[in-house]
Amino acid sequence: MFPATAWFVAMLVLPLIVVFVFSFGERGPAGGYVPAFSFANFLNLGARWAAFKNTMVLAPIGTIACLFIAYPLAYFLAVRASAKWQTMLLILVIVPFWTSILIRSYAWIFLLGGKGLPNVFAALGLGHIQLINTPFAVLVGIVYGYLPLMVFPIYVSLERLDKRLLEAASDLGAPPLNTFLSVTLPLSMPGVATGCMLVFILLMGEFLIPAMLGGGKVFFVGNALVDLFVQSRNWAFGSAVAVALVLVMLVTVTAYMRFTRRWSGGRDDISLM
């Protein structure tokens, strides 16, 4: 018990306390932090409203987009694909993970940039379509980067699904679509819940994808934090933004857990992480 507690204190509680204390301080003359006690930083949060708004809009949309693309993929992998293809396709899902997200985002910059897809559209006579540095580009990057995190939990829950239950449903008169809706889908909900949670939490702290594909126009709270801590060295205000983000996350995640628990009928076998 003790080593685990010590680990949590050192790695989680102490840093949070530091950030919390900093958030009431002031920026030093040469940047950094000077102890003080004022709510000025929190009252000033409105200055970063755009970052919060983008995060709060694009994180849920990104999570849902991931879900809608990942579910059919996971379903195909777990239920339809033959054993030989299953391994092959699973590897294909994992392989991009072996390359840095930075490099993969550069690839998307090229694809969505002026010489990429817009060029193709222009050649087809569709006129100029701006893709890079738009919320759409950020969304594409998010879905691309986080898809495996959504695919795996859903894949596992579908893989574990007792296929005899599908036969039982069919035997009781349920056509394939009804079987899917009444048996497969509810029983894969633990995977869906886990995947959504995983992707959503990580997305709330995302900064690399918006920085690269949003071109400074579409920025997340993560970008604001990088900016405040690294560029303008206003640690106090940065801490206040971080505390606000943690609070927003706590509220959303708690609400989400309540929701999924009620919706799964209070079953214990739903694990969120």
């Binding site: 036969e167 039982a168 449903a169 069919s170 035997d171 009781l172 008169g173 509810p186 029983l187």
Partner: protein
Amino acid sequence: MAEQNDPIAELRNTSKHYGKVIAADNVSLTIQRGEFLSFLGPSGCGKTTALRMLAGFEVPTSGDVLLDGQRVNDLPPYRRPINMVFQHYALFPHLTVFDNIAYGLRQQRPRLQKAEIARAVDKALDTVRLPGYGTRRIYEMSGGQQQRVALARAIVNEPKLLLLDEPMAALDKKLRRDMQIELQTLQRQLGITFVLVTHDQEEALSMSDRICVMQGGKIVQIGSPRALYDSPNTRYVADFVGKTNFFAGVVTASGDSCQIRVVGLNHTANAPRSLVIGQTASLCLRPEQITLQRNATPADRISVPVTIAARIFLGEHTEYLVKNTDLGEFLVLVPRQAEAVEGAFEPGQAAHASWRDGVGLILGND
């Protein structure tokens, strides 16, 4: 029930191949309305494949599946008025007992009234003696209760055919006995045709109107439990249904009074399949057809000297494993009354085993 000729389902020359493996080989069988039929055989004999072809989970490679005279080969399982009790029940873990049982009713089109569904589910719960269990979750139920729920989930749809795939495999022996009696009663009461798959000969013998013994994808013999026990067609059936002693010998006379010579002794017995003089065959004697005495018996019986090798007390009966120098080891079943006359035999003692000439069967070694 089995005597009437009112077929409800039929397998007509059906075969099922999985690549090179032949799971069912030209199986033909008529199932009578209202009967309790069992497929009996060891694993891999094709009994489950036969059941799955009836349910619609497997499409025969050749031949036809008929239901009420209609060819249903291409009808998917959800379109067949047939329900199944699965081996491990396959109950929906995310639904309550009530919702599990109501599942089939809710699939019906046109939709049934809610009250109608509730009434049918409650009735089914009563039938399987689980009244008031509707709100329970599946994981709150014991193995025996889960089996009843599986049964209720199937019978509530009033299927034309109820298929049972090794339904008792997961139950302990005592529970299995109770369930066998209950299933039989239920079948009479509901009048639904039951088709059971089992590898347990006791189960098949105790419940079925007819048993279909399978081997290597083929039907070996179909008949009432008594017919299979008293006159098995082949050595395989004799071996699988009840206990049998086989004594190897050579056929010395064929036809109506078939004879076989077993280590120098000539026996007369019935042969269900025609045999050729000079071929090797077996004399089959059920343990209860042999008696044990301390002294040699009158001349009208065939008698051999034996030593008692082991004794198994079974309550009503005592089973003795005895050994004869020429015949080897074989089983003798001694009823309680007979033992009272002769006294119990102890392992190591000498005795005489005897039987009347003419009892038993002569079966080829196939």
